[in-house]
Symmetry: D2
Subunit: 146 residues, 4 copies
């Protein structure tokens, strides 16, 4: 089953960076960050970018991003209390959806600890029907394309 493993991307692949502080509660009984916690990291860096670029508003704006799939590969354990650096890039932009890729690095480490991401479908806040990604949002997302 190891054949599905892809080569982890280098730091230089990522366009946007955020620091994240791990928490005591992230560690599970084995003393490492639990796999579910990584998804809270991934969410946080993607939404930070979208909010900064005003692609999405937290509680306003007519468009909302729905997560239709998410995934993560784990290469090396990280553990509280280490600091984590999150790199973000966009791997694909469709008409109504976008695929984000996040590299999760322990502080100052060259080698990635985990690589994950998710697909956002942009929908109308009220009807939840997919909408074409608006031009300005598309332009913000394109900045993170490889």
């Amino acid at each position: 089953m190891s054949s599905r493993r892809s080569l982890p991307p280098p730091r230089s692949s990522y366009k946007y960076w955020r620091l994240l502080t791990t928490r005591w509660s992230d560690n599970d009984i084995y003393g490492h960050v639990n796999n579910a916690a990584y998804y809270t990291y991934i969410d946080s860096v993607v939404n930070a970018y979208l909010l900064e670029e005003r692609v999405l508003g937290i509680s306003q704006g007519s468009i909302v991003g729905l997560v239709v799939e998410s995934h993560c590969e784990f290469f090396d354990a990280i553990a509280y209390p280490c600091l984590v650096e999150l790199g973000l890039r966009v791997q694909n932009i469709g008409r109504t959806s976008v695929l984000y890729d996040v590299g999760i690095f322990a502080e100052d480490q060259e080698q990635v600890s985990a690589v994950g991401g998710f697909t956002h479908v942009f929908v109308d806040r009220a009807t939840r029907k997919p909408v074409t990604i608006p031009l300005q949002a598309r332009s913000s997302l394109k900045k993170l394309l490889e």
Copy 2:
């Protein structure tokens, strides 16, 4: 990008079931369970089975299961305070690893809300080197094979 979507499996695909209570904190600002929370559901049903079958011990036993990848597809939103039914099956058993598949159903719903899972590599607790899955554990896992 929708072409990657597979047909969601029916309830009858799953062999082992557990009920789960959603929590207020699972809902995010959109009023639905946040994608990261689903992974805490998936973890909980898999480990419940492994503990029941004594495949793993929480704080003892020489073998530990490391999550090397996880993934989830979201079909329909669920929200606190609904109850969730978690179905578990095993999709593949290798020499040292196993792939779990979990169907996440809102209570009494025929159609799955989300389908996710992860790959466990069995490792020695001390050295963290992969080990052949012991016979008894393999037999427990096989019971959940499709």
Copy 3:
């Protein structure tokens, strides 16, 4: 510092009950439910009652409950995968606020594992100014008074 400890209340003190399923991620490195997770339990039983009784609506209704303080005393550890029974009562109802008390019991245990609660101030959803608790809500809350 132990003098501040009060005698834990018996099961019969609680008026409303909900079952809760613990999760793998609730356990911390010591193999017991982390103290922060208990607050997600407390939140969940209180809001379940408020939603059932239509005291609050999750995303509508002109009134919102703001938590102004919360607290918990821990008597005995609980750990995933055990089931938890949550008992709820109301200890005090003021003009604009209410104090909830929650008993957290491991399944079928007579003795409480933890006792916690919080104070809700009812505020206008838009202005966030305190409002007098409406009559119908007050009546629902009174049912849980000792």
Copy 4:
């Protein structure tokens, strides 16, 4: 019930500081950090200090800190994506226990958003019986006394 509110302590009361990054999943449906999440912040700053000072080891050391009570007062809402500054002080040191107090400040704000803390009882890792706080640990804790 407001009479129990104490005046929040100023920044200068706190002796040890850590930055914390909020997460998307910290916000609840009201768009603010959920009360339970504050306890993960409090845990993180206390344990960071204890690990730095080698008062506790995450997975080794014969002494473990058990949380016997925790509490928090909320003065002003914070919300992802803001940064949080956590100030720590020690309010009381007993023979076997210590009371921590944590001030939670939105970045660069003079006024505290929340004040919380908990009581640690130091116990033997194996027997879980309370032990006298060792001299070196006591000396580390005393540095944070007001």
